[in-house]
Every structure is written in structure tokens, then in C-alpha cells.
Symmetry: T
Subunit: 149 residues, 12 copies
């Protein structure tokens, strides 16, 4: 059975309680539960992990090799500063989709560049919690397409 | 009934015949047909238009006001150079999703910046033809969410 | 009789219907009519043309040689990206005034540089529709001053 | 009665005697007299002041609050270096038009950026002494438009 | 009772033993004790925490919401590289003062930019251990001023 | 028989009538006739096309695939701004030579960079109308060399 | 007795009357009086001086040598443009604290760099009028510490 | 007896299993064993530590003071982003050699700059696992030279 | 008789008393006296003026036209920031030599660019007070050479 | 009889033996012989010179004045770094054509700028050894055109 | 027998006599003799060559092909400016190690970039004369590893 | 007796014959003779050397140590590109004056930066051949001042 690891980066543990007018009232637990429900529909398995520590995210990616078929990564603020995350993704070679809740292209200039995106197969941003669902759908389809001759 | 306009930018008319090893054997007509089929499932209407001319895309966006509820735009190379397209999107204020077949973040540096993205609600890139389908799904969901109180 | 060509660039056809709180309720047709009325007072002839297509504006400038005595150009978003418009102005050598409805110096950084301005005799910006009227007044005065020994 | 303060920046006291082939034979006194004549026609009052000292221009703007209804400012070389003048304009909130005799966009690169323009309602440049007259016309019209409900 | 969280970033645990000629002989424990004494005088409560790990500082800020009334943050080297800390500060919206022992503006160019400062109410730098005391004084005063109508 | 498409970009339709002191008295029709005469000598066929519209040049390149063996392109001002033209050249993979009448390296800085050159086999610039003739000679030789085992 | 010179830069004379919603209703005279009261408590003497003219501030700093033991400087907009003020501070070698009412790190990019800060012992910003009081406290403490063996 | 601490940064735990065609089949344990063998020959003691977490590397360096005579550091991706590691090295003043398996100068531009190198006595890169051995040899020689009068 | 105006910029009034180890014990009065003695030898007249105010230096240059045959200008810190001084020099067209006591090319990067130098006939820097004497010698020779047919 | 000097820059002596798959099997001697044969056809004289030393190329250009009617220069890597070669070309004013075997615009970014091109009449690049032949043809034609009234 | 060419760039002939406090008392002859002794131990042959002339170093590298198995290059100041040396190394494809006496990463910014490093297998810097010995050891090991299947 | 070495860089051997309208009719031999005559007056010895080869100038500087008391260097175009010359000057520590015939600050931007100036005691530029005479005068004075206690 296809297995997907979902990684949430720094500050994402605050979802739901912070600025609900902007980010909605969904907590990270809500998002994870929705993803597991969608995963059941798509007949794949999903595991979720959150950390504020860059190196822990790096380690998790490193250990995903041979265990997971695909990754969904919301690197949060580390998107713009972390070469280590990029290296981890390139080292394990597991297909990864980069996800953002907001449309980072419409925010401050220093959020326009992503170090991690170049090591992913694609990006989805701007749809709020729905960004994750679209990513899971797209990733599962990508993996099934790759498996076919 | 919700109406969506899909706009394909420069060089996208060559799809299917050019570099099929990379871009696949789907033509733009194939993509448009798939989108219409998906639209039927989602109970929305989709119209598609392709042009190599920046100004024609600008005009089409300008005339979409009050006629379409949402836009899906693949600006192709104009992504990185066209302030006119950005202005058009901001003027009509119709929600738009930016779409790319390839993951532009993994290509040349001059493809890393998008002028149009800041005037969109979100971006989806790197899933090939499936980028459009994910965009349509995401956009329809966005529009229905906005409609609800 | 002195003849002036007024050229409106991309997205200007949307005036009046878009963001009337900011741009006012005047349509482009209203502005053109006001300019023709002012022209009658100044005893000059005015023709107006709008296009969203950079190349059509280039062609119009190219054909203005020997037909028009002066140009008023609102290049819209092409102000910041079009070397072709600059080249056209330099080729025909007809005196041109650059016009903007808004004060572009108070907007995003990428709107602070103008490629076309260096090929004009002057610029007027920030007075809304009145920018055109001031430009016509200034251009007619410039042309009559040049004609005198 | 509407009152307008005209501020001339550094080196403008040399007008008329310096490079008359370029700048014409009008002295600053001539320009001021022409402005007062035009003001009489427009039924407004105009006062003129020149200084080579950035801080004196800053002080004059600071003291204009509640005394003048509008400002016309030719910041000369301080256009490109003075954040203090920009701050002064933003502090008093009196509507200001930036004026230049020459078309600075066609000169050295370091003259292409204006610190003061972002704190003005608009700019007029390239018409020689006539730049001031156009500015006065435009400013008076702006003030009367703002006054009407 | 007003509660303040003091956060010390990377390498600050070495204070007192390292380069005492420059940084003085005070250890971090000495600074924390002085702050608690000052806090007693000001009738507020102070808690102190040091970590070399960026993500742990992020987590601490995230958990401070609703627990602390104000933050004092010396981000050390993360000042210049951490967007995650900036995001954490903006997410919790607790008023924060940025503190530096040395005057970073007089050091290497890469220390002149602060990512975190834009998410703080103010900064104090260059007074050695006294920077913290001034920050506590200023923050308490800020909080009492905000509380009053 | 080898077939070559010659594409002239914006403002090139003005040749001969504009600044004859610099660009000579040859019109674009003259250049095209000279190219056809040289083509006859080299036993190849040449077709010429001019447009001021970037998108029309893009379309022409797109349709040249399988019809033409080589391209000669003078992108004019679009040289420095058009990623769309570069993409079109890369998509069709037809060998192309970039041509300029003047030596762009000796003009303004913004003319020193070419987006299209990287998608060409070579460039020839600075020889006036003769640049085209040298390009045709070089391109025909290149094509015959490629054809040989 | 320790003597401190407080220098206020351009536009600071407008305090209290301008944008009271942001800057509060305190005038510069109020701030100076508060500082003198605090000085009395600290048993030091304080003199205050305001000028909009960069060169007058330079002269005042130059003449402060041997007369004052410390300086408190709010350079206003000259912070970002004045090398002359920096040179003056370095020439007299009197310890100086740079002060800002607002948190300049949270404003426009051109306000993020300070020329003068590198010639100061420290900076305090963002506390409104209280920035001055904190600066005086910190400076007096610094001077007494320096005096002790 | 001379004691050396070897620090391996992020992603280095993956060695041997990842891309063995490029990085060889040696695991990090193999490298550490080889280093201990070489250390025995050189009559020094070597301890090795790996972490993906920047702050843990910072802490280890901080605690190395007075315990170790020299450091060998492969900062991995943190080379290019970590000012905290640089500060840690400068704080402890223990001689350090920077090591890289690959020749970072021949990779992406963002890998050409090292924040840590300026705080080291030297760098060795490009020799694969042998880089560590050369570093140990050079460092031991450096330490013995420093010890001699 | 040839007349030369010597202009000393900001902070130069502090010479002799400040950092005598670096700048020597000569005061500005000493330098001026030495220049007058050298002038007597060269049979020219020299007048000296110092100001910390940029605008006063601008005014002095403006009034020098027709009164002085040559200028010697040490713009101090205004060298690197003043476009107004450059404009003044270009307006009066009196030959000017730029002088610096120190070798600015060996100091901070922001001192490597001179706005005023491009409006001078030459520069002399790095010889301390002797820079002025060399400048006077060179300027007088330049003026006598220009006068000869 | 028209005389042309052909100058080959650094590393060009290695042609034929190095990377023959890319650069072909022609040696520099082969190219020179082909040029002399073409020269005979065109009834001009050609002399060839190769040096790896920048200064020797500078000297050769300096001595070419009055001896040669035209220059063909392949500056190799000095294209991008040598202002001395540019100065030499501008000093002798002999018409020069810059030649490159490869299309430098399609290589690393640091090869996109040419210091020498601005001192040449034109450039030809990307045709391999044929670049030289095209340059000779173009240069001879240019010289004969210049000679005619 | 393996043959190694050691190349010393500009100013290295001055070693031993210049700044012995920094660079030690070893002359270049001493270094060469030490290298030959080490070579004897490693059973390889070493030849040494010094030149201040960039082009002579280029020529030497060009002629090394087929004669030497490896290169050790200290390009001195040409490290940062010479594309010609980089091209030479890439042309001959002989494995090369870049060597520096000092740690260039800890010196001026313009010494942080190396043009030559990208054409080498690795770099060793900061160990003084020992840098060469480490390079020879590493290079010989690299060559023997490459030779084995 | 004081001994001075005068070094002329690339293209300076062409003086007198090239562009005499600008550079005058003096040849380099004339300048050298004038310098020797002035040297006789000042009772110092002068030797002159010209080379187009950067490395030969480097070598000459290297050998000047202990032989010459001072250097006068016109690095020509190498001013802007040669770190090797800068290193040579710093290695020998002989006082050097940089000289330019023209005012390089008034020429192209790439001539505004000097690598060599930071290793000189001062610079003199813009006085034509007289620049050398002023440099010799200033240098001799500098040396005699240094010699005195």
C-alpha cells in the first residue's frame, strides 16, 4: 500500500488559535484528520509530523527512504532559508510536493524564493487547508502514473 | 451556473508535438477536453482560449468581468515579464489560479519570479496536464466556500 | 493644422467600470471626448487609439511619422517593460509626452522605472484624467515654441 | 482664498545666467513673476522661496501647515537623495506637485529615482519653465475637485 | 501580575567565560538574576530561557501566548537568518523587545539586517548586560501605557 | 531543397526612411530582395516576415517546425525582454541565427543581454544589412555540415 | 557634573501637532522638559537642540568636544543618508546613543540602514518619547561604568 | 594527549546508502573508524559526533572549550546559512578545519559562500572521505607547530 | 590676476585638535596660511571658506562664477552623497580640483564613490595637508596652459 | 593591398587536440591556412598571431596602427575580463571584428558580458572555425564600403 | 611513474623575504625542496614553476597534457580574476588541486570567489607551506584511487 | 640618494601618436625626460619602465624592494582588474603614488573602482602629463617627512 509522510514545519502547530480570521478555525489536528480521511478514499496511508526544529525535519526526511513512497512538505519559514532541507530531499529522492497555506508570491519579497521547491516535483499554494488535499490528490496520481509502464 | 475561463499563454499550442518525452503526448485540445469532462462532474462550465499574444490575453481577462466567476491562467513565458497581465487580473478582481506544467522553481533563475502570481489566489505547478485539473478542483471549491456565509 | 495622436496602452479600456472609487467614473470614451473639446479650444486636432497589444502600439507610433506633429502616450504596464516602444519613439522622432493617471512613483518598486520616458520630452502623472489635459496643453505650447524662430 | 507655496531647491538661483542655450534666458525671478500672473488669472495666491540648503526647505514645508493649501516643489538635486524632504511632505500632508525643468528620466541613472515623488500627488517634468505653470494649473484644479462634495 | 519571558539565543550560554575582556565577567545566570531583581522592583514576574536551537526558541514563543504579557528576545546570530522566529513573533502578537549586547550596526555587514526586528515593538543594543535592564524597563512602561485608556 | 525563414522584429519596417544617415537608405524590402538573390546563389529558398507583435513572431516560429530547415531572427528590442521567443526557439529546435544591424554591445547597458541568443546556434551583429547575408551564408554552411555523416 | 547634549534632527520640531494618533500629543518641548526632569533625578545636566539642517547638527557635534560627556542623537531622516554626521561623531569621540521614536526596522527598506549607528555606542528605537528616557538612563550608566577602574 | 572533536552536520548520516555512485559506499561509521585509526598513528585522540540540528552543533562547539585542542567541522548545508556556527567557533577560539566531501566551488552558486570558513584556520574540500584524513593530518601538524616556541 | 577659491567641507574645522596622531597638528587656519604663501609664490590670489552646511557650499560655488578662475574643493563626507555639489560645479563651469587629506580608496566601501569628481578636472588625495598644495600647483599650471593658444 | 591581422587569445593553441568531439579536429594551423586561402580569394593579405599573454595581445594591437587595415580578434577568456584589450582597440581605431568559436551567450553567466565588443564594429560567434571566415568576409566588405565615397 | 606539476602564481617568488611574521621564513625554494622530498617518499616525481604572468601559467597548463598526471596550482591573485586559467584547466582535463597559503575566506570579500576552483577536483587552504604537502598527498591518493578498477 | 621607480602600464607606449587632440603630442619618452629633469631639481633619481604585461609590472614591483625608496604607478586599464598588482604593492611595502592622465571618475562606470589605490599612499589624476610631476613632488615630500623624527 502506498505510504505518504506529511511534514509540517515551524509555527504550524499554532493553527486554529492564531489569527482565525485569516487562517480559519481549523487546527493542525483537523487538517491531519481530513488528510487521513481523504487518504482512506484514495486507498493510501498517511502519517503526519510537525516540528519547529529544522534539523528534526531533515532527520525525518532522511529516515523516510524506503519507508514512504511520497512526501508532502510545508516547510513554513524554512522554505526561504534552508539548504539542509533541500539536500535532504535530494538525498532520499522520494517524490515530494511543497505546500503552502497562503500564496507566498503575494507576500514580502523575502518569501518569493524557495530553496526547497527545486528538489520537489511540484508546488501548491494559496488554497488554505485545501492545499494539502490537492497535494495529496496530485501526489497519489503522480505515483500511480510513474508505476505504470 | 459557475463559469470558468481557462487561458493558455505563448507556445502552449505546440503541446503534444514538441518534446513528447518531456511534455507527454497530450495536445492542448486533449487537455481542454479533459477539463471540460472534469467540469461536467463538478457541475461548472469551462471555456478555453490560447494565444501567443500578451495583449490578447490581457484583453480576454479584461472582458471576463461579470461573465466568468473564476480564471485559470497558464501565462507561460509571460509569467516572468508581464506586468500588463498582472494589472488585468487586479482590475477585474475575478479569482484566478496560476498554473504551470513544469516546476519552474527547478529551472533557470529568470523563471523563479512571477509577476502574475501576486494577483492570483494561488498557484499549482509541476504536475503536467494534471496541474490544470487540480487547479479547477481547487478553484471550484474556493468559489463555493466564498459563496457560503 | 497641428495634429496630435493620443495612444492608450493595456487595460485602459476598462476605465470607468473598474474600481471607480479610485479611478473615477470617467470611461476612456469620456476622456477622449474631453480631449477633443480641449483640442478644439487650442485649435489642434486630436485622434485617439487604445490597444492592449504592445506591437500594435509600436506599429501606430511607426506610422505616425509625417502624419502627426506630436504624441501623447500612456503606455500603462508597458512603461516598465517595453524597449520596443522606446525604440519606436526614438525612430519617428515625433515629440511625445508620457502620461499616467496615477502617481507611479508612489506604487510598487517595479513601477518606478520607465523605459519610454527617456524617449519623451516630458512626463505628467498623478492627476487622473486631468493628466491628459495638462499633457495636451504642454505639448501644444512646446510645438508652437519650437516653430517660432 | 487658496494659497500656494512654490519652493525652488539647490542651484535654481543660477537660472538665466547659466547655460542659456539649454535652460533659456528666463531667470528665477521671471518664472516667479509668470507664476504670480497665472495665479491672478486662477484667482489663487502664490508665494515663492528658493534655498540651496536642504534643511531650510524642510523647515519651510514644516511651517506651511495650515498656512498654505498646496505646494509646488522643485527639489533639484535633493530629489534623489533627501529622505528628510519626503518626511516633511508626509508630515504636513499638504498636497504637493513635484516639478522639474528637464526630463530627468533621460539623464544619468542616479537621477531616475525620486525620494520625494512618493509623498506628492503627482509630477510634471521636461517642459522647462512651463512645467511650473502646468503644475499650478493641475494643483488648483485638484484642490477645487477635492473641495467639492 | 504582568509576566515577562526572556529568551536568550545561540552561544549566549557561553557568556562570562568567553572573551571577558569584551563581554565582561557576567555569566548568563548573573544577568538573569539581575533581571529578576529589577523585576521585583517593577512588580512584574520574569522567566528566562536559553537555547542554541532555533526551533526551540520558535516553540517557546509559540507557547507564550496567553501565558506571558511581553517578551524580551536576544536572537543572537538567528537575528540575521531566521524568518521562523519572525513568524513566531507575528503569530503570537505578544509585544516583544529585541536586545543585543553589542552594537551590531558597528560589526560585519551581514549583521546589519534583522529579520526579527520588524516583528518587535522596539530594539535596544550596545549597552552590554544593561541592554536587558533597559529593555525590561521600557517594556513594562509600554505595557502599562497600553493598559490605560 | 533547404528552406530558411527570416523573421524581422519590431520597428524594422521603418528601415530606409528612418535616420538614413545611420541605418542607410536600404528598406526592409531591399534587404529581403538581396537575401533572396543570395539564396538563389546558395540554392536555398528564403521566406521573409516582419511583425511588431511579439506573439506573432512566437506563432511563426511555432509553425515553422517541419516546414523550414533553419531560421534567421532579428528580434529587435524583444531580444532583451522576450522569454517567449526563447521558448519558441527551444520548442521547435530548428537551428536559428540571431542577427542585429547594429553592434548592441556598444549601446545602452540594457541592450547587452539577449534572452534569445542562448536558444540560437550563433549570433552576427554590427554589419548593417550585411549581417543578414553573413547569417544566411553561415547557416547554410552549418546545415550542410550537419547533414553530412 | 556630567553634561549631556541631546540633538533632534529634521522634522522633529513638528511633534505633537502632526499625526497625533501615531506620534502622540507630546511636543518636542514636552520631551525636552521630561528629559531635564529625569536628568535632575540622575544628577546630570541636559541641553537640547533641534535643527532641520544637517550641517548645523554636524557643527554642534563638532563643538561638543570637551564641553559634553555624552550625546543623545535622533538623526531623523539623516540617519540613512548622512556620512557627515557619522564623521562628526567619530571625530569628537564623545560617547553617543542613537535614538528613534518609531521602530525603523518595521518601515520602508531605505530606513533599515543607519550611517550614524556605527559611530555610536548603542541604539534605542520604537518606544516613542520613552526612547529618549531609556537612552539617557543607559548613557549615564555607561559613563559612570567607564569612569570606574 | 591532543584531543580532536570531529563534527558532522546535516544529512551526513545518510552516507553510504545514498547515491553510492557519487559519494562511495563508505558510511559515516566507516569514516569515523578510519579517522580513529589515523589518530592512533598520529598519537592523538579523536571523538566524532553527527547532528542534523544546527543548534546541537552550536552547543557541542560551545562545550568543546578546554576539553578539545582542535575541531574538524563538516557543516554540510549549514556552511552557507549559519552565522550561529561561525559565532560559536569564534567564541571558543579552538582551532578548526572546515571539511567538505565534494568541491562546493563547482556546484550551485549558493554553495560558493561559507559563513563558517572565516572562523576556521583552513579548509579542505573535494577529496571525498579523504578530506577528513587530510584535515586531521594538517590540524595535528598545526597544533604541534603552535606549541613549539 | 588669477583668483582661486578654496572650499573646505564638513568637519574640516576640527582639524588639528582631532586625532592629531592621524591628521597631524596643523589646523585649518595653518593650511589656509600655507596655501596663501604658496599662492604668493605662484603669483595668484587665494580665498578660503569652510562650512559644515552642504547648501552653503553649493551657494558659494554658484556665486563664484565670473569672480574666480578656479576652485579647490574638499567636499569631505558630501563627496559621496551630494548631487547638489556636482550640479553646482557643472553649472558654473569653473575648473575645479577635488582634494582629500586621506586616501579614501583605502577606507570603507561607501567612500569609494565620488559624486563630485565627475564634475572636476582632476583629484588629489592621500597627501594630508600637502594635497592642497599639490592641487594649487596643478590648477595654476592647468589655467596657464588653457590660456595659451 | 588590404592587410588584416588575426589575433587568437589564450588556450586557442590547444585546438584540435582538445575535446575534438566539441571543437572538431581542426588545429589553429588549419584555421590559419583556411583564412589565408580565403584571403587570397578576396585579394587581401592575412597575418595570424596567437598568445596566451594578455599584454602581448595588447602590444600587437598597439603596433598594428598604420600597418594593418583591419583586425579579427578572438579574445578567448580575456573577452570577459580585459579592459586593457578594449583600450588598445580604441587607441588604434583600426576596425576590428570580435570572433568566438562557441556561442558564449549559451554558456555560464560570466561569459555573457564582453569588454572588448564595445570597441569593435561587430561580433560573430557560434559557427566554430567558420566564425573566422564569416568575420573575414564581413570585415573586407566593411573596409571596401568605407573606402567608397 | 606518476608526474606532478606544481605551479606558483604571482608574487609567490617574494616568499620568505616578505612579511616573515605572517608568511614564515620559508622561501619558495624551500617549499619546492620539501615537496620534492615528500614526492620521493610517495614515489612520484614533482616539477615546480613560478610566474607572475597569467598567460605563462596558462601556457604551462596547456603544455602539461600527456606529460603530467596531476597539477597543483596556487593561482595567487589570479584566483579571483582569471577565466583563462579556468579554461586552461578544463581544456587539459588533468586533475588539479587548488592551494592557498592563507585562508582566503577570512580576508577581503573580493578574495572569496575563485574562478579556478570549479575546474579543480578540490582545494586546500590556510595551512601555510603545509597546504602544498597536503595537496600532494591528497592528489597522489586521488590518482591511485582513479587508476584502480 | 632617494631612488624612485616610475611604472607605466598597458597602452601607455602609444602616447603622442594616438589621439593627440586629447592626450597631447607628448610621447612617453617626453614624459620620462621631463620627470628626470624634475628629479634632478629635487635631487632624487628616477627610473622609468613601461610594459603591457600585467605580470611584468608585478615582477618589477617585487624586485623594487630595497632598491627603490618610492614608486609611481600608472596601472592603466589594470587599475580596475588587477588584484595581483595590489598584492605586489602590499608585499614590498614601498610607498607608491597612483597616477592617471585622465580623470577616470568622469569616464565609464567600470573605471570608477581601483584595486591598486588601496595599496597606495595617494592618487593624482586628471592633469595629463603633469599628473606625474605632481606625483613625484608629493612623493619626495612624503619620503622626506617620513624620514624626519
Amino acid at each position: 500500500m502506498t505510504r505518504i509522510l506529511v511534514l509540517h514545519g515551524p509555527n504550524l502547530g499554532l493553527l486554529g488559535t492564531r489569527e482565525p480570521g485569516i487562517y480559519g478555525r481549523l487546527t493542525l489536528a483537523d487538517i491531519d484528520r481530513q488528510l487521513r480521511e481523504l487518504a482512506a478514499t484514495l486507498r493510501v496511508e498517511v502519517n503526519c509530523f510537525q516540528s519547529d526544529v529544522e534539523g528534526e525535519l531533515v532527520s525525518r526526511i532522511g529516515k523516510s527512504r524506503g519507508v514512504y513512497d511520497g512526501l508532502i512538505l510545508n516547510p513554513g519559514a524554512y522554505t526561504h532559508t534552508s539548504i539542509a532541507l533541500r539536500d535532504a530531499l535530494q538525498a532520499v529522492e522520494t517524490p515530494c510536493v511543497e505546500v503552502h497555506l497562503s500564496n507566498t508570491a503575494a507576500r514580502e519579497t523575502f518569501r518569493h524564493h524557495s530553496f526547497t521547491a527545486a528538489a520537489c516535483i511540484g508546488q501548491i499554494m494559496g488554497f488554505g487547508a485545501a492545499s494539502y488535499a490537492l497535494a495529496l490528490t496530485g501526489l497519489v496520481e503522480y505515483l500511480s502514473r510513474k508505476r505504470e509502464p
